[in-house]
């Protein structure tokens, strides 16, 4: 389960930053980037606490 949370968190970070580069390269409209960034933000904050507060070493 921890690995799932971890993967979801990094997917959230990816959605936060990657669409911006696609906007820059002309492959994505700004409005889609804004929506994807919002989704990434929700994904990050929904899943990161599950593994960031875990005392165990990262998977």
């Amino acid at each position: 389960m921890r690995t799932v949370y971890l993967l979801a968190s990094f997917a959230g970070l990816g959605l936060t930053v990657v669409p911006a580069f696609l906007v820059w390269s002309g492959h994505l409209p700004w409005s889609t980037h804004a929506v994807l960034m919002a989704v990434g933000t929700v994904l990050w904050f929904a899943t990161a606490p599950a593994w960031m507060h875990d005392k165990r070493k990262p998977a």
Binding site: G12, L13, T16, V17, P19, A20, F21, V23, W24, G26, W30, S31, H33, A34, V35, M37, A38, G40, T41, W44, F45, A48, P49, M52, H53
Partner: protein, 466 residues
């Protein structure tokens, strides 16, 4: 101040810091790498949404910005590594207890009060930052660069609401907010990067090769906005170096670095400087350049919305909130010493109320560069006193930690070094017009010279302790 009252204040101050009284034990030493995350998290914060735009407003040229930030941040990292960390790892004490040994508890109470006041204003600026994002859905009139007083009823209501929420969370506890802040920090850095990258095409940057030309001609043009003073390379360098002067040269980060294995952990502050005070400042500068071309609204909320929409607004609110909250908590701790019989929640609520009133004045946010410089300057002399006491006095045959050795409540050489340095800096400003950003450097040498000279006089006149 009557001695019984001073004794009472001292006892309360000691009680608050009681858990930190002993030097850090070997089993609690942290690996150097843990300081990288800590510094990166601490320096990608709400202030970054304001400082980058203010450089643009002050007409910094692109080459001055990049060179000034590279060198100024390097000097800041060196200040952590060569000034603060060596004393922190040798004493393993936090600033409070080290200063108490040198200055005596009476002077420490004064230092704490100044610190608390500065914390209140800093937290106030962060509540203002958050309010600029919260107000967007309500079509609030945004404050402008030259606004000093509340500019609309909407602003007042939004700030009061933000202040109430932030204060309520600070009253309920600090640890959950600290945990939330830790979670937010990697995301927030990416929001800064994404905001800036997403608006590059609208500024005319179609490929990496276009960036420098646009940077020089559109973003950091070298021309200040109306009513703003002109900033040069030296302004940027000294601001980047001294904006955390209270932490490195002022020694406040002894509290953190005393857990380090070696002084070299101080170099990990580079993660905070080059992620927060380089990338984030550049990113927010790019955003404000676009804002100036479109709607002219330079407040943090509108510029973040331009770059990232709702996620940008969330970043501004979270950045302001997570910076304001621990700051209110720390101010509450410092003030607790002079509020007899008040419970912690009452002190925190009082600090929150003061902070919220301060936040009503947009000048606090729009003049953040000057405020941050003043904050560092006010607390820097005590860092210079610690430096001189630790390294210079023993080499000159003088005793360190004089107040502790002699059981003094008030060590006059340290008090005069503090006040005298600030008076000298004021004179440098008044007589030669030396701006506040540059005063820290001569101020440090003045503080060291005053403390060493006065200590020689003071200790020479007193019988040496056993």
């Amino acid at each position: 101040m009557p001695s019984s009252r001073l004794h009472e204040l001292t006892a309360r101050l000691d009680a608050i810091n009681e858990f930190d009284r002993e030097p850090v034990s070997e089993d609690r030493i942290q690996p150097s790498s843990s300081f990288a995350g800590l510094y990166a998290g601490e320096h990608v914060a709400g202030t970054e949404f304001v400082i980058g735009p203010l450089f643009v407003a002050h007409g910094v040229a692109a080459v001055d910005l990049f060179a000034g930030l590279l060198l100024g941040n390097l000097l800041a990292v060196c200040s952590w590594a060569f000034l603060c960390a060596p004393i922190a790892v040798r004493t393993r004490l936090n600033l409070y207890w080290k200063l108490r040994k040198i200055t005596g508890p009476g002077l420490l109470v004064a230092y704490n009060l100044v610190n608390a006041l500065m914390f209140c204003f800093l937290a106030g600026a962060m509540i203002s930052v958050a309010a600029t994002a919260v107000g967007i859905p309500f079509d609030m009139t945004m404050p402008h660069l030259d606004d000093r007083y509340p500019n609309s009823v909407g602003w007042v209501v939004t700030v009061l609401a933000c202040g109430a929420v932030v204060t309520a969370f600070a009253v309920l506890g600090f640890e959950r907010i600290a945990r939330f802040s830790k979670i937010a920090s990697p995301w927030m850095l990416l929001v800064f990067v994404a905001c800036a990258v997403a608006v590059l095409p609208r500024l005319g940057v179609e490929s990496p090769g276009d960036f420098w030309h646009v940077a020089e001609t559109v973003i950091w043009t070298g021309v200040p906005l109306d009513g703003q003073s002109k900033f040069t390379f030296w302004h940027v360098l000294f601001f980047a170096w001294f904006c955390n002067m209270a932490m490195h040269i002022g020694m406040a980060d002894m509290t953190i670095l005393r857990y380090a294995k070696t002084w070299k952990a101080g170099f990990h502050s580079a993660f905070g400087m080059y992620l927060g005070h380089f990338i984030a400042w550049i990113a927010s500068g790019i955003l404000v350049a676009l804002a100036l071309q479109t709607n002219g609204e330079v407040a943090p909320g509108p510029i973040a919305y331009l770059g990232a929409g709702v996620a940008g607004l969330a970043a501004v609110v979270i950045a302001g909130w997570t910076t304001a909250n621990p700051t209110i908590y720390r101010a509450g701790l410092a003030l607790q010493t002079v509020t007899p019989g008040w419970k912690r929640w009452k002190v925190t609520a009082f600090v929150g109320a003061v902070t919220t009133v301060a936040a009503l004045f947009p000048a606090l946010m729009m003049k953040l560069l000057d405020f941050v410089a003043l904050y560092g300057l006010l607390l820097m002399p005590m860092g210079a006193v610690i430096f001189a006491d630790f390294w210079l006095l023993p080499r000159l045959g003088l005793a360190e930690d004089w107040a502790e050795r002699r059981g003094l409540a008030f060590h006059w050489p340290a008090a005069i070094a503090w006040i005298g340095t600030l008076a000298a800096c004021w004179a440098l400003n008044a007589a030669w017009g030396l701006e506040i950003f540059f005063l820290g450097l001569p101020g440090w040498f003045i503080a060291v010279a005053l403390y060493v000279g006065l200590s020689r006089l003071h200790q020479g006149a007193a019988p040496r302790p056993a």
